[in-house]
């Protein structure tokens, strides 16, 4: 979904007002709102709502709040630091941030929320239902319906009592490709800032990466196209793998790069997406050069891996200097020698060697098979 450069403020508001007259008031003329906004208005009308009605901003029941607090805990934890950073960045322009679950119920909020302004306090309470069914067209409902980044300004909200808000929204997907919630930034009686859509999208990608990394894993793989410039972390493809090559979690960018469906219920293996021995991915160790890996579509990706999710930067300012990189290579060779010697001492008993070394049998096999076809 794209957002073209807006018309001057006064004409923007006029165009929105005219659109409301045409689509909500039944007058003749041309509407000038995005199709997805018009569709949302139609859904609200179809549900028997009228723009002049009051909006209650109800809290969900206590029982449901308890259940959703537990269900939303992973999302809240993953979003915590990003939410804080975002709210600090947008405070000077009088916007604040809201995080909801996939049903549009507020999980948390952050920023300079004016406690004397009911329009702010009503929509930032934990547990308040901001879905389209509850409060009509808004960035929350639109984002969760379209599963895409959105921007809404003033009269583009369905209910008249919501027309003071300007909001940007971005969906948040978990490591299995399911919508986990959405991130919103809202201002009240403020200037239109459609550029916030990109800001929010970027923050949502960071939260998604935290959700991916929260899955139990052995290896974290960072992807970019071969030959492409270095990207910021939130723009990289990211996937987590288990010991035996199964993909535990994957972010949206990696799905797009690897041509995977948005949501795949079945577990996927690294050999399904990379046209190479998946064990090579375990060889692309921290601090060493990235490896190029072919995909089934004939393209190559470059990937780097880490065990803890913390990746040392590649550039010359990195604190992993040449001497440490050489030590990492020597350490790896020594590690393989130790494993081979142990297996040999135990007369080839891999299980016993694994137990003695405190590692899994799969790891022993993998280390012994490194670089062999």
């Amino acid at each position: 979904m794209t957002f073209s450069h807006p018309a001057p403020a006064s004409s923007r508001v006029d165009l929105i007002t005219q659109s409301r007259r045409v689509l909500l008031g039944g007058q003749r003329g041309k509407a000038a709102v995005h199709d997805w906004i018009a569709a949302s208005w139609q859904r609200c009308l179809g549900a028997g709502r009228e723009p002049q009605q009051d909006v209650a901003f109800d809290l969900v029941s206590s029982a449901m709040q308890r259940r959703s607090r537990e269900a939303n805990r992973q999302l809240a934890v993953a979003a915590q630091s990003t939410l804080q950073q975002l709210s600090e960045a947008i405070a000077p322009i009088r916007y604040f941030a809201i995080l909801t679950n996939a049903q549009g119920v507020v999980v948390s909020s952050a920023g300079q929320i004016d406690s004397s302004d009911r329009r702010a306090t009503l929509i930032t309470r934990e547990g308040v239902d901001l879905s389209e069914a509850a409060i009509g067209t808004s960035s929350i409902g639109a984002t969760l319906h379209e599963l895409s980044d959105v921007w809404l300004h003033r009269g583009e909200h369905f209910f008249e009592m919501n027309t003071a808000y300007s909001c940007a929204g971005s969906p948040i997907f978990d490591g299995a490709g399911r919508c986990a919630g959405m991130l919103d930034v809202t201002g009240i009686d403020v200037a239109e800032r459609p550029e916030l859509m990109h800001r929010v999208s970027s923050a949502a990608r960071r939260i998604e990466n935290q959700l991916v990394l929260a899955n139990p894993h052995t290896l974290v793989v960072h992807l970019r196209w071969a030959g492409a410039d270095a990207l910021g972390r939130e723009a990289e493809g990211l996937l987590c793998m288990g010991e035996d090559g199964e993909i535990c979690a994957i972010n949206r960018t990696a799905r797009q790069m690897l041509g995977m469906p948005i949501e795949s219920a079945d577990a996927t293996h690294a050999s399904d997406v990379f046209a190479t021995d998946w064990r090579r991915l375990f060889d692309a160790q921290l601090g060493q050069a990235p490896i190029q890996v072919p995909l089934w579509n004939g393209l190559h990706v470059e990937l780097r891996t880490s065990r803890s999710g913390k990746l040392t930067p590649r550039n010359s300012a990195s604190n992993v200097d040449t001497r440490v990189r050489a030590n990492v290579g020597a350490l790896k060779a020594h590690e393989e020698d130790v494993i081979r010697d142990t297996v040999s001492q135990l007369k080839g008993n891999v299980a016993a060697a694994a137990a003695k070394l405190g590692i899994s049998r799969a790891t022993v096999y993998r280390k012994l098979n490194a670089k062999r076809a």
């Binding site: 293996h269 050999s271 399904d272 046209a275 190479t276 021995d277 072919p294 089934w296 579509n297 004939g298 393209l299 190559h300 081979r340 297996v343 080839g348 891999v350 096999y365 012994l368 098979n369 062999r372 076809a373």
Partner: protein
């Protein structure tokens, strides 16, 4: 099925080579000999395992050759089975597992084979050989 193989050939991961009925016939004949050896109970478990593994490789290579490609990479011969004979990942990854065991035997002299595992592998490669022969004969 062959689009992925063509993609890999374009980037040098596979070598394009016209299919040769003679080569394919020899590979399948070799696969049958290995299968006979694998089934022969008078052979050692280890020897039978290596024979069963060799059925998989020979049959897999025959399928790749039928499509007009060659690979020196044994893992790739197995991984491309999903594109040469339409095998599922569950099926061909069992051959990858056997490939791992074979490598340990080949390079470290270590091999641990249970009779039940061997029986399963023989069943798997017998199925593969039948699928490849069906592919070749359906042309």
């Amino acid at each position: 099925m062959s689009a992925a193989l063509a993609n890999l050939a374009k980037i040098g991961q596979l070598k394009a080579e016209p299919a040769s009925a003679l080569d394919i016939g020899r590979l399948l004949a070799m696969a049958h000999k290995h299968l006979d050896d694998a089934k022969r109970t008078s052979n050692s478990l280890e020897g039978r395992f290596i024979s069963a593994y060799s059925v998989g490789h020979a049959a897999g290579l025959a399928a790749l050759r039928w499509h007009g490609y060659r690979s020196e990479n044994r893992y790739q011969v197995f991984q491309t089975l999903q594109h040469t004979v339409g095998w599922t990942p569950v099926q061909w990854r069992q051959l990858d597992s056997a490939h791992n065991k074979r490598n340990l035997a080949e390079y470290e002299g270590y091999l641990e084979v249970e009779p039940s595992y061997l029986a399963g592998l023989i069943e798997l490669v017998t199925l593969l050989l039948a699928d490849v022969e069906h592919l070749v004969n359906s042309a």
